[in-house]
């Protein structure tokens, strides 16, 4: 068959395959257009999972008659200034969305520029354009898409159920709404309002957090700490969830680069790295981070859907995220998840069992915390009261009062079941899991020692050659100095192999092949050396576990107070190595409420 040039319609349908994957991508493209048009309020409607009808209405600057015709041409856009692909300040720039959508659906655009008196509408059916007609329309633009994918029946077959497609579309809008609190969004599905976010007036911290909490739930704002760091012209702001407020998957991690929602392995890897000490491997933090970098230092032209980005200085960005998050978490070291205390309170209330599911929904650790919290009191029958260790309480009441007022974690009152330390603070009580808390203290000490002295390395008499394939070897070699800092000294050994010369002495006689392979895989997936740190931390935490006070050990008053004082000065003492809380604090008003005093 001779080679021929494909007709325009086919070209558009092929392009549509990349850009328009499902109804959610149509909505994403249209909403991005609306945002780029300077809209203050955007209304999205859809029905039939987006198959039947999608409409996006904005109050942006609108288009004149001739612009309408150009807008549905491929590679026609108003967003690129000159020909500079390096300096992209808008969400879109490819000029592909509208023609792609137009090629596979029945599209109607109605628009009126702010300064014009007449509105025009344009109909396109599977790429066939009718002449624009005058129409009645307020200021802004409305794009209606009917019978999406009718021109590409194959794609239609691959769509999921209406419900799934709708929720995907809603997610896409939520994503965009998170980065633009200044714009109002409403989303309606088959006439039923799904959500409505009013435009936030206050564009500083507060408005942003309000919008995030509207999208991600109230609990997020209660358990989030603010992150704001800036370095070399790149700034990171946003909110990071406390480690005790964690999830089973990484779905609730929202990352934005210059306002653009992205799913990027570099960013995801940096987040994992930052939370590594605080969460078990299978738990994931909840956060929303906004990274702003000068446009010329980020390449967004990587993927048609623009969910991936490239940074000119990837190392700087990673470091910024890791240090930014770590600093923020260090400051919040003493705020365990508010939901933990909530759950505990629910457990206390008569009929509290009915509420306990509430806690479990967002944190499996809570149920445990609640149960652990509840059990001592369940058993506090008169006969069992002697299990409360009230060593020296009487003698120390006076000093205890002073301690309670002067220290955040207060004065130890006693020990319950030789496992939990109860302390009185100025305005409430604190219950400490003695093993978890002490383990964390020892762990921090071991880690500090490691960081201070560096990792001792054991030279290998017989260096180990690991075959990895060229990609893997090159990825490891690119970060060879970072590994050396962690005690793993490698050199390149021909194409596709590395030779390991020294290993961290802590690991002893270890499976070097396995370690290096894991690292290469992680470099591919997350772009950071998690498993090496993991293994070192594992050793540290085993040492910490062995070196710490166990549950079941009776502590004297002095020991308990010493534990509390040390927790106050140790960073990250609020949670154990696995993201569970080491202590919970109940405020007096909350306790009073339990007894109906308030």
């Amino acid at each position: 068959m001779p080679i021929r040039r494909l007709p325009e319609g086919t070209i558009n349908r092929i392009a549509a395959g990349e850009v328009v994957e499902r109804p959610a991508s149509v909505i994403k493209e249209l909403v991005e257009n609306a945002i780029d048009a300077g809209a203050k309020s955007i209304d999205i409607e859809m029905s039939g999972g987006g198959r039947d009808f999608i409409s996006v209405t904005d109050d942006g600057r609108g288009m004149a008659r001739d612009d309408l015709l150009l807008a549905i041409e491929r590679h026609a856009t108003s967003k690129l200034v000159g020909d500079d692909l390096l300096n992209i300040a808008t969400l879109g720039f490819r000029g592909e969305a509208l023609p792609s959508i137009a090629a596979i659906s029945r599209l109607t655009i109605a628009s009126r520029p702010h300064d014009a008196d007449d509105a025009w509408s344009l109909h396109v059916t599977a790429g066939k354009v009718k002449d624009p007609e005058p129409t009645a329309f307020g200021k802004g633009t409305r794009v209606e898409v009917r019978d999406l994918f009718f021109a590409t029946p194959a794609r239609l077959k691959f769509l999921k159920t209406d419900r799934t497609e709708t929720s995907q579309a809603a997610d896409a809008v939520k994503h965009l709404a998170m980065s633009r609190p200044d714009i109002g969004f409403s989303f309606t599905d088959s006439g039923r309002p799904v959500f409505r976010y009013g435009a936030e007036e206050d564009l500083l911290e507060d408005g942003s957090l309000k919008r995030l909490s509207a999208v991600m739930g109230r609990q997020f704002s209660e358990n989030a700490i603010s992150v704001a760091v800036k370095k070399d012209g790149i700034s990171l702001r946003g909110y990071a969830g406390l480690p005790t407020f964690n999830r089973g998957n990484a779905q609730a991690q929202y990352l934005f680069v210059n306002g653009r929602p992205v799913r990027d392995r570099l960013l995801a890897g940096a987040v994992r790295g930052a939370y590594q000490d605080f969460l078990a491997r299978n738990r994931h933090p909840v956060l929303a981070l906004f990274l702003d970098a000068p446009a010329e230092r980020v390449d967004v032209n990587v993927h048609p859907a623009k969910t991936e980005v490239r940074f000119r200085e990837a190392g700087l960005v990673r470091a910024l995220i890791v240090t930014g998050l770590r600093d923020a978490l260090a400051k919040a070291g003493h705020r365990a998840s508010s939901s933990v205390a909530d759950a505990a309170l629910h457990a206390f209330r008569p009929g509290g069992g009915a509420y306990s599911n509430h806690g479990q929904r967002f944190n499996s650790g809570l149920a445990e915390a609640a149960a652990a919290f509840q059990s001592p009191f369940d058993h506090l029958a008169p006969g069992a009261r002697d299990t409360v260790n009230t060593d020296g309480v009487v003698g120390e009441t006076q000093t205890g009062g002073a301690l309670a007022d002067n220290f955040p974690l207060g004065a130890a009152i006693g020990q319950l079941h030789e496992t939990f330390v109860v302390a009185q603070t100025a305005d409430g009580i604190v219950i400490v899991d003695q093993h978890a808390a002490h383990e964390r203290l020892v762990y921090e000490r071991v880690k500090k020692a490691l960081a201070h002295d560096g990792v001792a390395t054991q030279g290998l008499l017989i260096p180990e050659v690991v075959e990895l394939g060229e990609d893997g070897a090159a990825r490891l070699m690119a970060r060879v100095e970072e590994f050396a800092g962690l005690g793993l000294v490698m050199e390149s050994f021909g194409p596709g192999a590395v030779i390991v010369r020294e290993v961290p002495a802590l690991l002893g006689d270890t499976d070097i092949q396995g370690l290096v392979r894991d690292l290469a895989d992680e470099m591919a997936e997350y772009d950071s050396a998690l498993s090496l740190k993991d293994r070192l931390d594992d050793v540290c935490s085993t040492m910490a576990c062995h070196g710490s006070v166990r549950a079941g050990r009776r502590l004297t008053q002095t020991e308990m107070n010493a534990l509390l004082r040390e927790m106050e000065v140790t960073p990250h003492a609020g949670q154990c190595n696995h993201g569970r809380p080491t202590y919970i604090e109940l405020k007096l008003p909350e306790i009073e409420r339990l007894f109906g005093r308030r």
């Binding site: 000490r445 500090k448 020692a449 201070h452 002295d453 001792a456 390395t457 054991q458 030279g459 290998l460 008499l461 017989i462 180990e464 020294e502 002495a505 802590l506 002893g508 006689d509 270890t510 499976d511 070097i512 092949q513 396995g514 050793v539 040492m543």
Partner: protein, 372 residues
Amino acid sequence: MKITIEQVALLSALSHVQSVVERRNTIPILSNVLMSAEGDKLALTATDLDMAIDESVTADVGQAGATTVQAHLLFDIVRKLPDGSQVELKLAGDASRLVLKAGRSTFSLPCLPREDFPVMGEDELPCKFSIGAPELRRLIDKSKFAISTEETRYYLNGIYLHDAESGGVAMLRAVATDGHRLAQVETPLPDGAAGMPGVIIPRKAVNEVRRLIEGREDEIAASLSDTRIRFDLGEAVLTSKLIDGTFPDYSRVIPEGNDKELDVGCGEFKAAVDRVSTISTEKSRAIKLGIGAGRLELSATSPDSGTASEEIPVGYGGETMEIGFNSKYLLDITGQIDGETARFSLADAVSPAIITDPEDESALFVLMPMRV
């Protein structure tokens, strides 16, 4: 099958064979010991499919026959029987139970048929030689500690036994390494061992042989092919598969031209290392040697436990240097030096050190330093 045997004889034989049997097995018969009675002998066999020990003891055989019973169970019973008692073993009617009687005790133990017991194939073992038990003990003792426990480098999980030439003399050489340190011990090549294949004897077999030759002074007959090795100790015979792998070319990691020679008093050095390392962190056990003319300063630092240092007089005339080692490795190696002096041959702080006994050239140890 029906036999009567002295408790002491049965216990000694059982203690030899039962250690081959793993505590947990997926194949039930592997937990058992095969007992077969014939003539005036009771033969016991135990195996883990990789190695087998056969041992014969004199017994009063009333009726020849064979069966298998759980090895650890039988061993525990016989161990607890009164010394010097006579043990009667009798297969019950349908061969499903072995009845053991001694004094007033009676045990009835479940049996599995002997036909199911795996037998290690009888391979041709062309290379045969005999070696004195003390010599074999020395080869094993001085190299065993360096065997790797890391399963992924399986070819290091044993002692590499081969013939080698040392100073123009043919030697039988044992080498073991875990990648951090290496031990090389040799003894004059016994007759018949010339041209033997280089073989890697797995750790478990090494340990079993070592147990069997404890305290013996006689000659042990060894025979081997490139897949199997057998040690014949008269009444007991141990056969083991060999590790199917290539031992690395260890001669390349033994440095030549380490010109700085440090002579330390072995006992004094060991005691000092042991003392100073009390401070070093539990996991890395790092200890630093600061070497100067005529003196050696050992030191360790730990953020938790403080610092330690000790100075001992040594024989050293080279330039001052510092080098770090894992203190456990140092103790392991110097523990293998029988003489009064241990000689360290060093090049620099990152190159391997050679440790030898200046009066005994047949053993040599290589240790990779730590960077602290």
